[in-house]
């Protein structure tokens, strides 16, 4: 059946790995670049870094009231700010599992693996719903 390590992974597993790898690489690159923009002061932030020590010890609810930091997807409106820009890399990393899940759905359907198709679809729904802020707590 197999003669070496290269023949072990199924086509959908290799596809999942491929998408995961691309998303992770893009996410890390964005994370590093946006952080450099932030700490080098290339873009004005919503909250100056020297002000952060006044707020980062507060519980989340108090922090949000004091800083008016964006919640949900409202950060997109402030994407030009140096600190908010960092959320792009964070969101790409957090969104990569959903993208990989979406990429393997057709492969499961084509191979008639309907149980795994249904599970992957459910996982995708959970990830999309959590990214859409459907499960937020009261802050």
């Amino acid at each position: 059946m197999t003669s070496g390590p290269g023949m072990i992974a199924s086509p959908e597993q290799r596809r999942y790995a491929h998408v995961l790898g691309i998303g992770a690489s893009i996410g890390f690159a964005l994370l590093v670049l946006s952080f450099l923009v932030y700490v080098l002061g290339l873009r004005k932030p919503l909250l100056e870094p020297d002000q952060l020590p006044l707020y980062w010890a507060l519980p989340l609810a108090q922090y949000l009231r004091a800083t008016h930091a964006p919640t949900g997807w409202s950060w997109i409106a402030s994407i030009g700010k140096g600190d908010v820009l960092n959320l792009v890399g964070i969101v790409v990393l957090a969104g990569t599992p959903a993208a990989a899940c979406l990429a393997v759905l057709p492969a499961f359907a084509r191979r008639g693996q309907f149980a795994l198709f249904a599970i992957a679809l459910l996982l995708l729904v959970v990830l999309v719903a959590s990214s859409a802020n459907l499960f937020g707590s009261a802050h």
């Binding site: 072990i8 290799r14 010890a57 989340l60 969101v91 795994l116 959970v126 959590s130």
Partner: protein, 313 residues
């Protein structure tokens, strides 16, 4: 007895991690004091670099060390530390998983149903963690960390557990596979059993991971290996994949505004660079030694979290 640079490097790292766990909180009162703002991300990067060196070769992942140690040593509120902990665990898993999948040491088929359960329960845990008072979360974190210490101390691993017959769910979902074992120079076929018990266990693991931002490698591997009967290498690889697939708790923290870049980014980058160095550390110090050190560090961090939580009631 001679001392080479390599022989000195390992004790230096061990002393550094022990110091991280033992020294009093740098700013336990929550204020940054006279330390300039830029020193905190620099210190955080250095601390995570050291944690990354030790955590990955010790087989626990970074998340479980990150929250109790950074939560105790740095002036950041636990809400932000937990959010950063989830991103550290996710980023580390995303970096490792593609390679593990390609060589068959992580199984997408096995990870899918478990990730679904972990993903759902992580959301419940994350929402609860952000809603409960900090003292309650701190106390529960301390108790959970001490539970993890007991688990790490007692749990044995089996490289190739005997699975006589897969259960009905494992058969229906074809939770099996094959990987090429280089040490044995042959493919190893595997399957799992006790799947329903495994499912319930992973729901509980997801709850804890979401609530405390711990990641879940410490629990995934024994559950997959000892309970479900996956070979140790497949259990370790699939554990990483489950972490990479279930980012739902991270989304809860992102949407709640609990990701402060100055905390998240140095943590993620420091931990990942440290992990790269950590793989080399295995050449000069055994995994068992590192595991003992990590268990000791966790014991101290768990007691600190418990005392801190109880002290603020």
């Amino acid at each position: 007895m001679s001392f080479s640079p390599g022989s000195l490097r390992a004790p230096a790292v061990l002393v550094g991690v022990a110091a991280l766990a033992c020294c009093p909180a740098l700013a336990a009162d929550g204020s940054a004091g006279p330390i300039p703002w830029w020193a905190w991300p620099a210190l955080l990067f250095a601390a995570c670099f050291v944690l990354g060196i030790v955590a990955v070769p010790a087989g626990v992942g970074g998340g479980v060390l990150f929250v109790p140690i950074v939560g105790g040593l740095f002036p950041f509120h636990l809400d932000f530390v937990r959010g950063a902990g989830l991103m550290v665990a996710l980023a580390s898993a995303l970096a490792a998983s593609p390679g593990l999948l390609q060589i068959g040491l992580a199984s997408l088929r096995l990870a899918l149903p478990l990730s679904l359960l972990v993903g759902i329960s992580q959301i419940a845990g994350a929402v609860a963690g952000l809603t409960l008072p900090a003292a309650v979360v701190q106390t529960m974190l301390g108790l959970s960390i001490l539970g993890i210490v007991v688990l790490m101390w007692k749990a044995k691993t089996a490289e190739l557990p005997a699975v006589e017959k897969p259960d009905a769910i494992a058969t229906a979902l074809r939770l099996n596979g094959v990987y090429y074992d280089i040490a044995r120079a042959r493919p190893v076929e595997w399957t799992v059993h006790r799947t329903p018990t495994g499912f319930v266990t992973f729901v509980f693991i997801g709850l804890l991971a979401g609530m405390f931002g711990l990641g879940a490698g410490w629990a995934n591997v024994p559950a997959l290996n000892l309970m479900m009967g996956a070979p140790l290498k497949v259990a370790a690889g699939t554990s990483s994949l489950i972490l990479a697939m279930s980012s739902s708790a991270a989304w809860v923290y992102i949407n709640q505004g609990a990701m402060i870049p100055i905390i998240v980014v140095p943590s993620v980058i420091g931990m990942m660079l440290g992990a790269m160095v950590g793989v080399r550390l295995l050449r000069v110090v055994s995994a068992a030694t590192l595991r003992r050190l990590v268990t000791t560090v966790l014991l101290i961090a768990g007691v600190r979290a418990l005392v801190h939580g109880l002290g603020t009631f």
